[in-house]
Symmetry: C2
Subunit: 339 residues, 2 copies
DNA sequence: ATGAAAGCGCTAACAT
DNA sequence: ATGTTAGCGCTTTCAT
C-alpha cells in the first residue's frame, strides 16, 4: 500500500514457534488463552513473546476474522467545541469496549463525507457513526445500507424512520427556553435560528412555536430569521435587528455561537444584557458561563450523546439486525446572567 | 476478532474475475491502473466492479503491503478546545495525503497512553503522533523506538535530543508577553504558571525571567506559583493572591483556561480589568476574544502545529531515517482588553 | 495436548 | 497482455 521504507520485520507467531520448536498454532492458542495447551508450554510461550517483544498483528487477525475492532467516526468539524465533546464520548466508550476510532471531518461537504465513508468501508470498519451528517435523506440511507455495515446517526437524525439515532429533544429544549423567557416577562421573543443546512432548526422552530402557543401568543414570522452558526453571522443578524424599528425584548439564538455574536452586537450599541435585551441560546458549549455575559442556554448532553451512540452501535455490531432504536435525550435549561 | 454478526460477503477481486472469466491478477491491475491490461478488459473490469459495488479490502492490502495508510494520534484530551484544533490540523493533513487517523485519548495517564500505543502498534499504524505526551523522558523514547515505527512529538517535546518534534516557542512567547506587560507600565508581574505535569511550564518560566532580566527587574520567586490548567485552580490561586497583602498590578497566566478563572476571581471582588489588575495568558483558545473581558494572550498556532507535525511524520514514513527535525513555531501576541 | 492444512483478499515476481 | 504461484500473519477445522 505504498510503504516506502522497509522496516525491520516484526516477530510473528512462527518466529516464536520456531524458537521453541513447536507449532504456530500452539503459540496462538497459548497467547490467546484458548486453552488446549500445556501449562509449561504456555509459560514458555509467554516468556518468549515477551523477550522478542512480540506484537500480534491485528491486520492479519482482522483479515482472518473479518472484524477490525474499529469504528468509523464521520463528523462535520471535530475542532468545534460542540463536536469535540461528542467525539470524546465516542472515543471513551469505544475504547472501553475494545474498539478504536478512525476520525474523519467532512466540513459539511457531502462529497467529502461520501469519500470518507468510502475509505472507512475499504478499511473494513465494524460500524459507522455519523455526527451531524449531510446524508440524512432517504436516498442517502439506501447508499449507506449498500455497504452492509451498521451505522448510527448522532445529533442529526435521518429522515428515514428505520434508522438508529441519538439526538437531544430539540423541540422540548427550545420550548422550555422560550417558555421560560415568556414566563419571566418577555412576551415578545425574537428567534435567530440556524440556517437551512442544519435540520435541527426545524425542531427548534417547532419548540419555539409550541411555547408561544402554550402561552397564548401568536406566532409572528417576522420575528424569526436564520443564519449560519458563526459569531459573525449572529453579529450581523443582530445588527440588522437593532437597526430596525421593531422593539426588542429578548433574543433566542439557535446555538451558542450565534449567541456570542448577538451579545457582541448588543454590547457594542451600549445596550445592557439582560436589562435592555435578554439573550438565550442553545448547546451550552464550553465557556458559555464565562462569556462577556454568562449565557443562558439549553444544555445538550454532548458527551452522553457520544457515549450512548457508541453503545448503540456496538450493540448493533454484536447482535445485528434488530429494529432501529431512537434515543432522544433530554436537554437541560441553564439559567445564567444573560436573561 | 470477535465479529459476531456474519455479514453478507462483500465481492472480491476473484468474484469480478470469475464473472469475466479472467484472472484476479488482471482485475487487480485494471483497478489499480497499473497498466499491462488491454483497454477493453479494463473497461469491462471497471463496469463489473461498479455493478457489483466492489469495495477493495484495505485490510488485505495492508497485510500484503505492510502499510496501513493509517496514523495513530495519541492526545491527552481531544475535547479540550486547544487539542481539538491540533487534531483538526492533523486529520486534515493526513487525509490530504491519503492517510486516516486513529484517535486515542490518554487523559494524562501514562499507563493509558502506553496501552493506546500498544493497540496502535498492533493495528500496524504507519506512524505515530504524540500530542502532549506523558512519555517525554529519555527512557520513554527507547520504549517508543522499540516498535520500529516513526513518531513525532507535538506541543511537548521529548527530553531526548534525537527525536522529532513540533512546538511553539514557549520561551519567546512568554518573554514577549511579559516584556509587553512591563513595557506598558506593569513593573511587577505575577505569574500563575502551569503545574509540574506540564513540561512547557519550564520554558514559559524561562521566558518570564528573560523578559524581567532584559528590563532590569529582579526575579522574585514569591510572585510565581503553579496550578493545574483548570478554571477552578486559576480561580483559587487568584483568590489567594487577592487575599494576600501583596500589591497586584498584572497577572500573567500559564494558559487561557487559568486566565478565565483568574479573571472571574478578580471581577468577583468588584475589581476592574484592566484598570485595577491586568490579565494576560497563553494559547489563544477559541472564544478568548469573547470572554468576560476579552483576553490578551499569546496565540499558539494550534492548527499549524497539527499540520506541520503530520507533514513531518509522513515524510519520515516515506523517506525514513533522516536525522531528527525540530520545528519551533513562532507564537503571536494578541492584545485585547484585559491589559 | 499438539499439529497440519487451508484460506481470509490481496499483489509482487515471475512465467507464458 | 494475461495467468500462475506464493505468501503477508493469523485462526478455524480437523486430524493425531
Amino acid at each position: 500500500m505504498g510503504g516506502e521504507k522497509p522496516r525491520l520485520r516484526t516477530p510473528t507467531l512462527k518466529d516464536i514457534a520456531r524458537e521453541l520448536g513447536i507449532s504456530a498454532m500452539a503459540v496462538s492458542k497459548a497467547l490467546n488463552g484458548k486453552g488446549g495447551v500445556g501449562a509449561e508450554t504456555l509459560q514458555r510461550v509467554k516468556e518468549t513473546a515477551e523477550r522478542l517483544n512480540y506484537q500480534p498483528n491485528a491486520v492479519a487477525k482482522s483479515l482472518r476474522l473479518s472484524s477490525t475492532k474499529t469504528i468509523g467516526v464521520v463528523v462535520s468539524d471535530s475542532s468545534l467545541s460542540f463536536f469535540a465533546k461528542v467525539v470524546k464520548g465516542i472515543e471513551e466508550t469505544a475504547s472501553r469496549n475494545g474498539y478504536s476510532i478512525i476520525l474523519c471531518n467532512t466540513d459539511q461537504d457531502c462529497s467529502k463525507e461520501k469519500l470518507a465513508i468510502q475509505v472507512l468501508v475499504n478499511k473494513r470498519i465494524d460500524g459507522l457513526i455519523l455526527a451531524a451528517s449531510m446524508l440524512t435523506r432517504k436516498e442517502d440511507v439506501a447508499y449507506l445500507r449498500s455497504f452492509g455495515i451498521p451505522f448510527v446517526f448522532l445529533i442529526r437524525r435521518s429522515e428515514a424512520e428505520e434508522v438508529d439515532y441519538v439526538i437531544n429533544d430539540n423541540i422540548g429544549g427550545a420550548c422550555q427556553m422560550v417558555d421560560y423567557l415568556v414566563g419571566s416577562g418577555s412576551r415578545k421573543v425574537h428567534f435567530i435560528n440556524l440556517n437551512e443546512e442544519i435540520p435541527s432548526r426545524k425542531d427548534r422552530l417547532s419548540g419555539y412555536r409550541k411555547a408561544l402557543e402554550e402561552n397564548g401568543i401568536s406566532y409572528e414570522p417576522s420575528l424569526v430569521r436564520s443564519v449560519k452558526p458563526t459569531i459573525e453571522d449572529g453579529h450581523s443578524a443582530m445588527v440588522e435587528l437593532l437597526d430596525g424599528k421593531e422593539e426588542i425584548q429578548a433574543v433566542f439564538c439557535g446555538c451558542d455561537v450565534i449567541g456570542i455574536g448577538v451579545m457582541e452586537a448588543i454590547l457594542e450599541r451600549g445596550l445592557r444584557i439582560p436589562q435592555d435585551i435578554r439573550v438565550a441560546a442553545y448547546d451550552d458549549i464550553d465557556f458559555a458561563a464565562y462569556l462577556r455575559v454568562p449565557l443562558t442556554t439549553v444544555r445538550q448532553p454532548k458527551f452522553t450523546i457520544g457515549c450512548k451512540g457508541t453503545e448503540l452501535l456496538i450493540e448493533k455490531i454484536r447482535v445485528g439486525g434488530q429494529e432501529a432504536k431512537h434515543l432522544v435525550l433530554q436537554p437541560e435549561l441553564v439559567i445564567r446572567m444573560s436573561t
